[in-house]
Amino acid sequence: MPDPSAVLNAVVAGVLLGGFYAAVALGIAIAFGMLDIPNLSHPAFVVMGAFATWVLNNTFGIDPVLAGLIMTGPFFILGVLLYRLYHTCFESRGEAPLQGLAFFFGILFITEVVLVLTAGADYRSVQADYIGVSVNLGSVTLPLRMVVPFVVSIGMLLALQQFLSRSFTGRAILAVSQDKLALQLMGVSPTRIKALAFGISIATAAVAGSLLIIIQPVEPSIGRDFIGRAFAAVVLGGMGSFWGMLIASIILGITESIVSDMWNPSWAPAIAFGFLLPTLAFRSGGLLGRKL
């Protein structure tokens, strides 16, 4: 019988880890779930965000979270430009699905190589007052380097959720993958809406990157560790559903944390993915997806 307080600690650690996964998965939920853009390179942009945070933190001593927020501007522009390129080369020619995957796979590698060439292949980390500090609540230990990313991630998710459900632009983003022609008839340019939304999706990678480098040191190819988990969270949660994605991220986080604490870290991803299959077998639309 495992120690109850150890189990509790593992669960709490898992929830916090899940919150961070949600920050990474958020951009994928937008690109895949709402825009039908197969952006496989998203985790690479997260790592790029982490390195940008490292530069701002190391050179100017800017707080990592603030650095991530500052980088949302340039990342947004980068996302808009990347979508324009993707749209001109593939989407507008109706060759999106397969060629698009190859395109973003290429972007993933190019981004990694650019990072290695400019920042080197070493592990980089940031400094902030809360890194290395823990708060104890009874028998539960809360390391602030996990709590801060969790809070920022949930905040980002709430803000985007509000934007999507309350603003005219947000609702157009929700509609764009359902019927482009109908959206034009509402007076909206689907290409502009998709460029904007993809810009937002890449901007979330800047924030997710700053959270990643708060949690652990980062090297250029570390994004690969998260590709599977982030995609799993999006599919498991239900394409296009933020809350489903958050719940799925937390389930993955808790499972991973418990399995690696109680049993063996190597099994953690396998068990987490084990959840994916039965969920999809019983609920093909994911946990909370809007299904007809």
């Binding site: 005219f168 509609a175 959206l183 509402m186 007076g187």
Partner: protein, 242 residues
Amino acid sequence: MSSITISHLGAGYGKVRVIQDLSMEVRSGETVALLGTNGNGKSTLIKCVMGLLTPAEGSIKAEIDGVTHELAGMRTEDIVSLGIALVPEGRRLFPRLTVEENLTIGAFRRVARKVLPRNIDFCFEAFPRLKERRTQLAGSMSGGEQQMLALGRALMSEPRILLIDEPSVGLAPLLVKRTIEKIAELKQEKQLTVLMAEQNFHQALRIADRGYVIVHGEIAFAGNSAAELNENDLIKKLYMGL
């Protein structure tokens, strides 16, 4: 004041010419029926007016509040912004958005955003069914309800000119009758200018002031009243096999 004048329009897909040298007009406050069986170019004409298809030749002029715009070559989004709305064939709702979200997105146009609450109330009053189902996903509703929602969504953009493509398709006869009557009622209340493409000429003529019969991409007959169309030999031949 709002009207459409189409002159010498030619349009098609690739090398296939669907419409040739077609001229017609919809005057302010009229309900004009565009009649013709399948494949004669009704939808192609509507697509040209909405900028979904660029005409090969000719012009489409829309006059809205004293300003004349050339629609040929304009983008669909800009045409909608002028105050021209289309209820498309097959309704084209956003299936995974709720009834209310579908209506709200209809008010994307700048001038429509300010009057969104008033227009939502108007739609719910005109179609009480939509109010009951406001939180339901549009794709899960019946054909008749979807047609109501499509009409309501088009009206949310505060249009001056409303185009309706085949409102009766896929509806039971009783619903066709009701939909057509509803269009007349909404047109009256919102003071619209309406161009309606329809195969069901009996129903269309119940509310139309005038009509054009389109055959092989050309205007085969222009009727100045519903009675004139009813008496026409061509219509008898096309629709009744006489």
